[in-house]
């Protein structure tokens, strides 16, 4: 159960924002943790050969890291009973010459949350997430439903 009182919420209200950074080491870690070893997420040559600009983040990394804002706001990650998104733009993760791959700052993902809908009967709040890289949306219709 979230710590916030449902009755105090208003549609359009911000739940705040945060940023997450992702480098190649983060993608290797996510690949291992999730079991998704598609080489487009860790091998530059392969990514280019299949027509991508380079290595891109797992869509599920972006989706998974963005929802933490909602888990923390709700106070209980299990309060997120439904979570969906469309992946519209790849998140490129560079490997600049001379950088240390494990501590390079990487790509910054911006995450903002707003209450998009409230259902008083079901006691749920829909949080709409705006997830951007360099000002461009990388997730569309990213919505998390929180049970109160």
């Amino acid at each position: 159960m979230p710590a916030i009182a449902f009755e105090t919420l208003e549609k359009g209200q911000s739940i705040g924002g945060t940023t997450v950074r992702v480098n190649r080491a983060d993608l290797v870690r996510y690949a291992g943790a999730s079991g998704d070893f598609n080489p487009i997420h860790w091998n530059q040559r392969f990514a280019e050969e299949v027509g991508l600009p380079g290595v891109i983040a797992h869509g599920m990394f972006t989706m998974g890291s963005a929802v933490q804002l909602v888990s923390d706001w709700a106070g209980d990650p299990a309060a997120v009973i439904d979570y969906q998104t469309r992946f519209t733009k790849p998140v490129p993760v560079q490997d600049p010459a001379g950088s240390n791959p494990s501590d390079y700052a990487g790509t910054e993902i911006g995450i903002e949350g707003t209450i998009g809908a409230l259902d008083a009967e079901a006691r749920t709040a829909r949080v709409d997430l705006t997830v951007t890289v360099e000002g461009q949306k990388v997730l569309v219709k990213a919505q998390a439903l929180v049970q109160f």
Binding site: M1, V20, D26, R29, Y30, G32, A33, S34, G35, D36, N38, P39, I40, F46, V50, G51, H58, G59, M60, F61, M63, G64, S65, V67, Q68, V70, S71, D72, G75, D76, P77, A78, V80, I81, D82, Y83, Q84, T85, R86, F87, A144
Partner: protein, 149 residues
């Protein structure tokens, strides 16, 4: 079209159970940079009423993608994994996933449709405990890019 259209409506039965480990939840939470204590500390999870550390909202992708692998590896599917792009994803949780759960996933191919030179395939994994209690429903759409895309 890069996917066999006859796949639509097909169901792949649940395979071996996936046993949710406490360390796996911690590892996955760290990998998505989720810092909520309920993912790491059983006492913090217990304060929220959970039997053990609680999985992040997207953890079920591990179970869902293992189920999807049956389809991708099915020689009849015609799917070239290297040309797969994740188009959309949804998780609906019927109850939280916690360490110690033994999960099985039945995979349903809900839709196969042509998209330009490629194809879009929508799969649904119905995740339940080995005792048969529903845990989560995941829906994924994968775009398989055509040779010219």
């Amino acid at each position: 079209m890069s996917i066999n259209p006859a796949l639509q409506g097909r169901t792949y039965p649940a395979g071996e159970p996936y046993v949710v480990g406490r360390e796996k939840i911690r590892e996955f939470a760290a990998a998505v940079k989720a810092s909520h204590r309920a993912h790491y500390d059983p006492a913090a999870a217990a304060e929220l009423g959970h039997a053990d550390v609680v999985a992040p909202p997207t953890f079920a992708i591990i179970v869902a993608q293992r189920a999807d692998a049956q389809l991708i590896q099915d020689p009849e599917s015609g799917i070239d994994f290297s040309r797969v792009v994740h188009a959309d994803q949804r998780f609906t949780h019927h109850r939280p996933i916690v360490a110690g759960d033994e999960l099985v996933a039945e995979l349903h191919v809900d839709q196969v449709r042509a998209m330009g030179g490629g194809a879009m395939i929508t799969t649904r994994a119905e995740i339940a405990t080995t005792a048969g209690d529903p845990v989560a429903t995941t829906v994924s759409s994968l775009l398989v890019r055509g040779e010219d895309q």
